[in-house]
């Protein structure tokens, strides 16, 4: 399929009112969060390797820079958002019992929020300490 065809079919499908379901929003958010993860990981992985594997003091010093705190906030928010969207699709594809499906999706969302908030609080606490 060339680019024109792909774009045509996507806009066409998007504009059909009957398929303007939450699914389209989910699809877009999954891609937006994926694109967001690219620069965040290109920043975080080298930081982890070069600044965070040393001593406790070095790691704390790295966390206390406002630039790094901001980056960690964006990283954790994007990461758990991306993960919960992805896990939701996997559950929707493989869990066929309706009740179990909804329960597991809710559980995934709650766990993502819990882990996200927990990590943000820790990042903030180190920054303020």
């Amino acid at each position: 399929m060339d680019k024109k065809v792909a774009q045509y079919s996507y806009t066409k499908v998007e504009n059909m009112s009957s398929v303007k379901s939450p699914g389209v929003g989910h699809w877009k958010l999954q891609r937006i969060s994926a694109i967001g993860m690219i620069p965040l990981l290109l920043w975080f992985i080298p930081s982890l390797l070069f600044s965070l594997l040393g001593s406790y003091e070095e790691a704390i010093a790295w966390f206390q820079s406002p630039f790094n705190t901001t980056g960690l906030f964006l990283l954790f928010i994007t990461l758990f958002f991306h993960a919960s969207l992805g896990l939701q699709v996997v559950i929707e594809d493989y869990v066929h019992n309706e009740g179990l499906k909804i329960a597991s999706i809710i559980l995934i969302k709650l766990l993502s929020i819990l882990l996200g908030v927990l990590s943000l609080l820790c990042v903030l606490k180190i920054y303020l300490s």
Binding site: K4, I35, L49, A83, L87, V90, L118, S119, C122, V123
Partner: protein, 126 residues
């Protein structure tokens, strides 16, 4: 609606190919990384709780089993990262040609293995 209907893809008669294996591996690494994110969060929690907790946390991780898990995590991360970019190209409408799909797939394997090896060389030699 019958719940017993056969579901596509019919894996019992489906011939595994590079493209299909990479596709399922994208999901598998995605799920594994989601679970593995707990390691990242617990590392940040340990750092927050002070030096003593942080050092004992590192002690728990720093053995052959912990390193094996982290090695798998690293490969999963680089694989999902590279193949995710491949998916974004598809979403933008590029690379659907069969030859291109195989080429980008091979590139993803080479990239994720290389990045994993470089990372662990850095871990051991820095």
């Amino acid at each position: 609606m019958s719940r017993q209907r056969p579901l596509s893809p019919h894996l019992q008669i489906y011939k595994p190919q590079l493209t299909s294996i990479l596709s399922i591996l994208h999901r598998a690494t995605g799920v594994a990384l989601s679970i593995g994110s707990i390691i990242l969060v617990s590392w940040v929690i340990a750092l927050t709780l002070g030096e003593a907790t942080y050092l004992s946390y590192l002690k728990i991780i720093n053995n052959w089993f912990g390193k094996l898990i982290l090695f798998g995590f690293t490969f999963g991360l680089f694989y999902h990262f590279s193949n995710g970019i491949r998916h974004l190209f598809w979403d933008a409408g590029y690379g659907y040609d069969l030859k291109q799909a195989y080429m980008s797939g091979t590139l993803v394997i080479i990239a994720s293995l290389t990045l994993t090896i470089i990372t662990w060389l850095l871990v051991f030699f820095i």
